[in-house]
Symmetry: C2
Subunit: 326 residues, 2 copies
């Protein structure tokens, strides 16, 4: 009745923004991402017949309120599938800051899904795990398969899940994560997503997204880094254009985020193949090839704007591990 | 053969972005603005039969290259209308920094139009002056009439000009201009506008712009400041969403710009009716009612981010003055 899983966060090249079903978290469009080797959540779930309700510890702190509810709701899905009715103790640990745009909910809910399902005695396929993780946090479904991943948008609960496009060693891309600020963002992704459809531009985005996904897969297949990077950067700006023109309008970037975006373009003008992307948050992801990563990090550190830099390579998806946290 | 004019810059509430005719500067859509009492260009034009070509002085510096060419091309339009063939000396003075998003080209070309036309012996109506100014710099046509101004988009040279909606004393709105950086922007408005139509969102914007113009005129008519401010802020973000999703994509904001945008929203949450807008540049315009202006300035100064603050009231348009600059 106890299991521990570790899951990577992921960075979306084509973004997930807007849902067609709020409860099932069915996305308005498909998306493409890469799992990140150094941003991980480890979670142990232990069901116990003596527990009436769940207790949740995240990063050493007992967690209550909305965050705890989201965990309990997800375990309810698992309990229902496993036909058990036990409370659980959940201990979860992130090796990176939450709530700044590093998609801690992706890694957290992918890890919770596998650890919870296994502790409950379920033996689920990758597809089933991805479907289950998606219901807790959309992007978590992409942290289930290995490497470079496509979330097939889907129209129903059963056909909305992620699959691996390429294994981690396919392409030596680095995602240099720049933590510009360790504070949590003021609006959660879940909350902001609700207003996605109110942007005057959302429908136009949707109309063109499948062409964009095809193009991204083409550049990925050809390993054409400049075209790939240009498209990924454009896509990030498009999502933030949607976010800032929604009602209500949100601004996720911080001044430091913008400064680094401007600098990234300057470095590119100077000949360095580096592109930015970002999730719904203020922390920036700089994409470059392995051979350029030292130079990118050196430039970043010289700016003096950077709290922390985390160099990620493509990673496997969620998996069970031996070392339990309780 | 000598005349001097003074013209205000203006701040657009509904933006001018994208042209249907590059040479005539016919805009893709109509726009609405307010002339600004404290951002002014004064220009003296003196035609002289001894001059073969024009000499241009801006802010005490002899000007060559593209900037001078744009002045000469505009005087060519005037010379053609007046059927004269004389070189001119042009002396122009701004009381604010150029190239940071304060629309110095609006005030500059409105002043040049009236001074040049008068010095050439032309006696033009307000409409004719507005049409003429537009051909040099689109937004300059809005600096011709008084107060709150609508640029009727138009389809031909003759029907694309600005008219006054309300005189300056109609509404006690202040535009607190915040100069966050005195450097010039890296891409001119003219250059960036060329790519407006390449944004995936441009067509969608155009399809809804006339409704937005009607709504803005309604709020202006009702003096409903919160609704007016909300719409103006939304519109500014929409224009910048277009700019950042164009090909090429441009980022006009600086980190300090963004910091003040975030703070403005915070101040609003705290109960202060203040809204931001900005042109194609990094300097910010904060709109508030006269009774709040002291508080806004105090808050701005406390941020430590602000190089200079200029408090503007609605202004009359371009007019002739006695004191020549040469």
């Amino acid at each position: 009745m106890k299991a521990t899983a570790i899951a990577p966060s992921n960075i979306a090249f084509i973004k997930y923004w807007g849902k067609t079903d709020e409860a099932l978290r069915l996305p308005a469009n498909g998306s493409i991402s890469m799992n990140l080797s150094e941003l991980q959540t480890t979670t142990t779930v232990k069901f116990n017949k003596d527990l009436d309700e769940d207790t949740v510890f995240i990063d050493g702190q007992k967690t209550e309120g909305l965050k705890k509810n989201r965990v309990t709701q997800h375990l309810d899905r698992i309990r229902k599938m496993a036909k058990i009715n036990l409370g659980a103790k959940i201990v979860s640990k992130n090796n990176f800051p939450m709530g700044g745009g590093l998609s801690s909910s992706a890694s957290a809910f992918a890890a919770l899904t596998l650890a919870g399902a296994t502790a409950a005695g379920l033996d689920l396929t990758e597809k089933e795990l991805s479907i289950l993780a998606r219901q807790a946090s959309g992007s978590a479904c992409r942290s289930v398969p290995d490497g470079f991943v496509e979330w097939l948008g889907g129209k129903t609960n059963e056909d909305s899940y992620a699959v691996s496009l390429y294994l981690p060693d396919y392409w030596e891309i680095c995602d240099v994560v720049v933590i510009v600020n360790t504070s949590e963002k003021s609006v959660t992704t879940t909350e902001a997503q609700k207003s996605a459809l109110s942007s005057p531009f959302f429908r136009e985005r949707l109309g063109k997204i499948n062409d964009k996904i095809s193009l991204l897969k083409k550049y990925l297949g050809e390993k054409d880094f400049p075209k790939f990077g240009e498209l990924v950067e454009t896509e990030a700006l498009e999502m933030h254009a949607i976010i800032m023109t929604s009602k209500p309008s949100y601004l996720y970037w911080l001044p430091e985020t913008l400064r680094l975006m401007i600098l990234t373009r300057q470095w590119r003008k100077d000949g360095l193949a580096v592109y930015f992307t970002l999730n719904t948050g203020h922390d920036l992801h700089l994409l470059c090839l392995q051979k350029e990563v030292e130079k990118v990090v050196r430039l970043l550190k010289a700016t003096g704007e950077v709290k922390n830099v985390i160099i990620n390579r493509p990673s496997v998806g969620v998996r069970l591990v031996e070392g339990h946290l309780l």
